[in-house]
């Protein structure tokens, strides 16, 4: 029987603010899983800490709501121990790019086959609206006592430099587009970053839904007018993010330069979609090449004992023989 969106929902009370971008992302995650027909018990979600981090509780799959900034290493450990699972790591902009920045960077060195989806709204919501690492300099939201004194980081450019093999940006209220990006990120064999722009209607009073979608208030009349939306889709602009020959350094370089340039666009128009994609051996491939036993059984499934007797399966006699002195 085909799985429906309903099968991925729980009845847990949702306490996000009305109008929160998290809702759009949550729906897109549930719909993407349903469209992919992934059995709920084969999916394992991890999240860090923040409003967004409650997401796993609303999704009817295995879920771990972990520590602030640590979603990625938890997810990496789980995926490497059991690669049969579909592992998605959920992060926030403060959570993943601030306190968890070291993991964000270093996970890029490993190309573990998982999707890192970051809820990016420019503020720390649960602690009442402080500036996050993606809030642009000099912006003053209602919640800030002074304009933001720090420059913002560019997560897409950082991911590119760090070695992510799939880099994309989505928008929380573009349901269909976001769904497709989530599916593409999960299907990508390797490490995928999907940074999702989302409004925080309570604390980010600058980068609002209206701001992203070009609904500008006419000061004189007080009426919202639809000017040109800020967001545009890369795929509709003829942009090709894919490295077609991963063995060609020139093509890699060209596609990285192009992705970097696209990642710089913000004032005026903001691109969403896939910025960069390359297929390379995963960390698991590398591990399997070293440790033959892992090819047959991943760490979580390796037979370690005889269940009826408890006798350990490992044979260390050869190692002991090497250490033997008499």
């Amino acid at each position: 029987m085909a799985l429906k969106v309903q099968d991925y929902k729980t009845d847990v009370h949702n306490d996000w603010c009305p109008g929160c971008g998290d809702f759009g992302i949550l729906n897109a995650v549930q719909q993407a899983l349903a469209e992919m027909q992934l059995p709920p018990e084969q999916v394992l979600l991890f999240s860090g800490v923040g409003c967004f981090a409650k997401t796993p509780h609303f999704v009817n799959t295995y879920g771990c709501h972990t520590l602030h900034g640590r979603s990625l290493p938890f997810a990496v450990g789980a995926k490497l121990a059991n690669p049969d699972l579909t592992v998605v790591s959920l992060g926030g902009d403060g959570d993943g790019y601030g306190i968890g920045a070291g993991h964000f960077l270093n996970t890029g060195r490993r190309n573990v086959d998982l999707l890192y989806l970051v809820f990016d709204n420019g503020v720390y919501g649960l602690t009442k609206g402080q500036a996050s690492p993606t809030l642009k300099k000099d912006i003053q939201t209602k919640s800030l006592p002074m304009p933001n004194i720090n420059d913002a980081i560019n997560p897409l450019a950082v991911a590119l430099a760090a070695g992510y093999t799939f880099i994309a940006r989505g928008y929380a209220y573009d349901g269909k587009g976001l769904r497709e990006l989530i599916k593409a990120g999960i299907n990508h064999r390797g490490l995928a970053l999907l940074d999702v722009l989302q409004p925080c209607p309570t604390y980010n009073t600058v980068n609002t839904k209206e701001w992203y979608e070009g609904l500008e208030m006419d000061e004189a009349t007080g009426i919202k007018k639809a000017s040109a939306p800020r967001l545009y889709k890369l795929e509709e602009s003829g942009y090709d993010p894919v490295v077609h020959n991963p063995a060609d350094p020139a093509e890699i370089s060209q596609k990285m330069v192009q992705a970097f340039q696209k990642s710089q666009e913000w004032e005026g128009r903001i691109p969403v979609g896939v910025f960069y994609q390359i297929n390379l051996p995963t960390y698991h491939d590398r591990l399997n090449d070293r440790v033959a036993a892992l090819k047959r059984f991943p760490a979580a499934k390796m037979p370690i004992y005889e269940p009826s007797t408890g006798t350990p399966a490992a044979d260390i006699s050869k190692a002991l023989e090497e250490l033997r002195v008499c």
Binding site: L67, P73, A78, A81, N82, H103, L294, T311, V325
Partner: protein, 610 residues
């Protein structure tokens, strides 16, 4: 006098000059001759150049510690002589390079001074093997030469050294064997012919009975092998002295089937291990104090979410970076309480290289049986100890995965209860455990307080019950774990003094007990092996009948004594403490006990070691 004539050999030199390999060659040769060996390694936090040394104690009887005396000191440089010459016993021998200094400059006319013309032997060897152009490379043979001269001096048969060298130079390096054996022979004969007559100490080949197989092993390797047998298939680490050796041993043996992941920091090390453990892998991480500090938040999450994860903390001298390559037992109270809030954890403190192995297995069994973090407090001294011990006996070793559900058991449970609850309230506190991938077993985990399903709730009644459920696992563990896994008691019930200790001082205490017995001092010794849950009843029983209660620890404040007082109400009468970064010797325990008994000292501070 030592219980058995034991012989102590020391080699020193700049870090990176081959001190370790010389010592291993010497130790292996003695061990292959049926002798018991205990080796202590000391080094600076530096890659090349600073002074390091290795002391090998050898005996025909079992030994478990080092002694202060040195019977033979082998040196390549002046610094080693300066630092260690006073440790050499009267009538002992000092091997030195006569091109560096004159014998009268050594200042030990009461010792046998053996000049070794390293360069002469190396040149002769180069000539013999037509390697004159490699003279620089061959300087490394100083090591073999010093070992061989030493063995010639004590008269341990050359064939043992020969086969040790052939065992070292094999495979890709096999071509180097004849040259090393040739140089060794020259140096050995020099030691025998020129100096043996003036030297009183001898080592002899002892026949070892059939069925008494022995291995020579270090603490980190012992742990690694225990983890393999215990089913650990996922190990994470961030490089740190002295813990990295364990992970590197596992990584260099891919046949064990362990995924070894070097993480970006210790926060990632523990959270990766927890992620792997959530999926059902037996997962572990090994670190030292500074790394363990970073792991605190991960420990708390694993405790809150009932995840079996095993953490080895090879303690070194703190606080902060401390003495990064030196020994201490300063993390006991931190390990008992690390991370904010309260959650159950087990804390084990192995005291020798057999316990390092078997505790690694037990740690995983406890972690899964009680579904909570297990911390093993290892330390620098034993991590870097090289010791001969009996072949590990695997009879009776078993793996216990606790309430881990099979697919069938899970289906039955779901059928009878309607829904799987990961944190179901149970009498023991332990709930049946499913794994991701299992149909019907979906769970949620969260660092927030949660209900039986694993969803967040701040309900006060749930909080009271859930906290109680988790903490109750500690009572269950205390009840189920047999006393012989919690404590070891040595000596007679009645004694003049009762020593209480944990971890690595065990060896020195056991060796010293024998000596003190010879002096008419009756010592018994309580080793506390499982520190949490604390074996309060047994400890109280022993202490209540003790005449004089003394704790022996490698830390400033007597942390175990504080724990004992907290758990049993008993106060120690005296303490023997040390915090200079160097492990406790057999001599120091003997002297410490004398001071407590004869001079009525209530706090003895030990300071030996270079």
């Amino acid at each position: 006098m030592p219980k058995a004539p034991s012989f102590s050999w020391m080699i020193g030199g700049p870090q990176g000059s081959g001190v370790d390999s010389s010592a291993t060659t010497f130790a292996r040769t003695c061990a292959s001759g049926g002798l018991f060996v205990f080796g202590k390694r000391e080094y600076h936090s530096n890659i090349k150049g600073d002074h390091s040394y290795f002391q090998i104690r050898v005996s025909e009887e079992e030994i478990h510690s080092h002694i202060d005396e040195v019977h033979l000191l082998a040196t390549f440089d002046k610094e080693t002589l300066e630092i260690h010459k006073q440790e050499v016993v009267k009538g002992g021998a000092i091997l030195y390079d006569p091109t560096l200094l004159k014998p009268e400059e050594i200042g030990r006319p009461d010792c046998l001074l053996v000049p070794i013309l390293y360069s002469e032997i190396i040149q002769a060897t180069a000539k013999e093997f037509h390697r004159e152009k490699d003279l620089m490379k061959l300087q490394i043979m100083k090591n073999v030469i010093s070992v061989a001269t030493s063995l010639g001096l004590v008269g341990l048969e050359f064939d043992l050294l020969k086969s040790t060298l052939e065992g070292i130079f094999k495979g890709r390096r096999a071509a180097l064997a004849p040259m090393n054996v040739w140089a060794a022979r020259k140096a050995y004969d020099y030691g025998t012919q020129e100096f043996q007559g003036s030297y009183p100490h001898r080592l002899r080949h002892v026949q070892v009975g059939n069925g008494h197989r022995r291995i020579m092993i270090t603490g980190t390797t012992a742990t690694a092998l225990g983890k393999v047998v215990g089913g650990c298939r996922f190990q994470t680490y961030y490089p740190i002295t002295p813990a990295s050796d364990e992970s590197e041993y596992l990584e260099s043996h891919p046949e064990f089937g362990v995924a070894v992941i070097q993480s970006e920091d210790e926060i990632a090390a523990i959270t990766m291990a927890i992620g792997a453990a959530v999926t059902g892998a037996r997962a572990s991480t090994s670190t030292s104090g500074p790394g363990f500090s970073l792991m605190a938040e991960g420990l708390g999450w694993a405790g809150m979410n009932e995840v079996p994860v095993v953490v080895f903390n090879y303690q070194r001298a703190g606080p902060s970076t401390g003495l990064p390559t030196r020994h201490e037992q300063g993390d006991l109270k931190f390990a008992l309480a690390a991370s904010h809030g309260e959650f159950p954890r087990l804390v084990l403190a192995p005291g020798d290289l057999e316990e390092y192995f078997y505790d690694a297995i037990d740690a995983f069994n406890y972690a899964e049986r009680y579904q909570t973090p297990v911390i093993v407090l290892a330390d620098k001294a034993l991590a870097n100890t090289t010791e001969t011990i009996p072949w590990y006996d695997l009879d009776g070793v078993h793996i216990d995965r606790g309430l881990l559900l099979t697919d069938e058991e899970l289906a039955v449970l779901v059928a009878s209860e309607g829904r799987y609850k990961r944190f179901k309230f149970t009498e023991s506190g332990v709930s049946p455990r499913s794994l991701p991938g299992q149909k019907g077993g979906i769970f949620w985990k969260t660092g927030d307080e949660h209900n039986e399903l694993g969803h967040i709730t701040e309900d006060p009644d749930n909080r009271t019950r859930m906290m109680t459920k988790r903490m109750r696992k500690l009572e269950t563990a205390a009840r189920e774990i047999p006393i012989e896994k919690k404590v070891n008691f040595f000596g007679d019930r009645d004694a003049d003094i009762t020593l209480v200790s944990w971890g690595s001082p065990k060896g020195a205490i056991l060796d010293a007990m024998e000596l003190l017995k010879g002096e008419g001092i009756r010592v018994n010794f309580l080793q506390i092996h499982l520190i949490l849950p604390f074996p309060s009843e047994f400890v109280a029983q022993v202490l209540s009948r003790a005449r004089r209660r003394v704790n022996v620890e490698m830390n400033y404040s007597g942390q175990l004594a504080q724990v004992i007082r907290e758990k049993t109400g008993f106060t120690m009468d005296a303490s023997i403490l040390k915090w200079n970064g160097r492990a406790i010797s057999q001599n120091e325990i003997v002297e410490g006990v004398r001071k407590v008994l004869k001079e009525q000292e209530s706090k003895v501070v030990l300071t030996h070691g270079a």
